[in-house]
Symmetry: C2
């Protein structure tokens, strides 16, 4: 196994919304020695900006409906404000960050999600990740900071895209060249067995106990797409997926004693 | 002269504000065969967005005063909305654009302008351009699309920065490795001898006739910083500076029969 190790870290919206927490998280991220990519969510600021601009926010099942006006807002807020603040902060600590959307260097192409029962508007389903683009940056000491935006190559439209899915898609694409570790960081200590008990972290999730937790309702709606992404990533060659608190990123990556480790059955035996 | 030719093109705000004109301009830009960089201005949309967000726009001598709230607005609008729309459009035409601010890859460092008589707020004066960063992109087929934003490395703050100055600073920095042609594109056919006559384009500006035009008031306030930048760039090794209408970019670059050519005296003799 001579592939270099690559960490792909996704940081969720709740941390983005809190400048102090974000700063602490970024400080930890900056200290990761291995190759790394950060994918960030949007946070509530897009909703606030939209509201002030008179653009109505419509959510269905936790997913934002993105009309043209909302697409402009998320392009501004995710691709501009949030992304560049992160980049400038990391740069000041000597981490050679480069802010990117899926459009930049044609990194992540998508198609506008087909309308079935719900028209999500300008929301992208990822179709292609440019390995060459990410490799160029990583091999030249740059740290990609990826905003949750993709683009449709046929017409040059930006598309609002789920950051968890983007992190997973990038991770899978880069398994050909790197030993990829994927970490989802958010405001909980991991996947909880009891939503009311922050310390009830499920240490290891396998396909088997995941099915049980879903069947008995312990793992809830919002967590399911994240975990489905995680298991898909593992099936496609990602080495390890960790779900942990933003405060515990480095401990989770370094010794695996905190957070939830998502593993395929076979990998469990080897641990 | 074995240095490869590099075109650095600056497109002004008035074109940014008009989607049809911008699209036509970008189509021309995409067709330039040589290595190229686009630096874009901001346009009026930042003022509109600011106004809707309740952020007051203060201008002194055509320069925006940038407080913290306005810095957020320009970071959103220039670095997000305007930049990513340009990138996605160019990508759809097969031009491998990458959107960048000065913070990304540490490309363009600046310092917050010292307060003399006027406090411009979070406005940057360029201090350093990373040749290595631009070279990496250009040598790998990427086309940098640069938003008018720099950053201060000591504290990780974004800074609002004049796009003309940025274009000139990038041009000068890259003369060590490229034969650099700099073009300022805007809504006029060039530098006008008579502001009321759009066809009174001054074909060639030399340091000598520039002094005369300034002395007799033909060249006015807004044009002076642009032309000072142009002459500075020539003194620092930039091969040629053209000031032309956005509609005439390719004609201006290809045969030099339109727009204003800014030259050092010695270069005039050689033409």
């Amino acid at each position: 196994m001579s592939k270099p190790t690559l960490y792909i870290v996704k940081i969720g919206g709740n941390v983005i919304d809190n400048p102090d927490k974000l700063r602490a998280f970024l400080s930890d991220f900056a200290q990761i020695k291995a190759l790394k990519i950060l994918v960030h969510g949007g946070g509530k600021i897009a909703t606030e900006v939209a509201s002030k601009l008179g653009v109505t926010t419509q959510m269905i099942d936790g997913r934002r409906i993105t009309d043209q006006a909302m697409l402009d807002v998320v392009t501004m807020v995710y691709g501009g404000l949030v992304n560049k603040k992160i980049v400038a902060q990391l740069q000041s600590w000597g981490c050679n960050a480069i802010g990117l959307t899926g459009a930049d260097a044609g990194l992540i192409q998508a198609v506008k999600r087909p309308v079935k029962t719900i028209d999500y508007g300008f929301v992208g389903d990822v179709t292609a990740v440019s390995n060459a683009g990410f490799q160029l940056f990583l091999e030249n000491g740059l740290v990609p900071i990826v905003a949750p935006l993709t683009f449709e190559n046929t017409n040059g439209t930006m598309l609002n895209t789920n950051a968890d899915t983007m992190a997973s898609a990038i991770a899978v694409a880069l398994t050909s060249f790197f030993s990829v570790n994927l970490a989802y960081c958010f405001e909980k200590k991991g996947v909880l067995a009891n939503p009311d008990d922050d310390n009830s972290v499920i240490a290891t999730l396998t396909p088997e106990n995941y099915d049980t937790f879903k069947a008995n309702g312990v793992i809830n709606k919002g967590m399911i797409p994240k975990l489905d992404n995680a298991f898909d990533a593992l099936k496609s060659g990602v080495l390890e997926v960790t779900i942990c608190h933003a405060d515990e990123l480095r401990t989770a990556l370094e010794n695996g004693q905190v957070g939830t480790r998502v593993v395929n059955g076979s990998v469990v035996l080897g641990r």
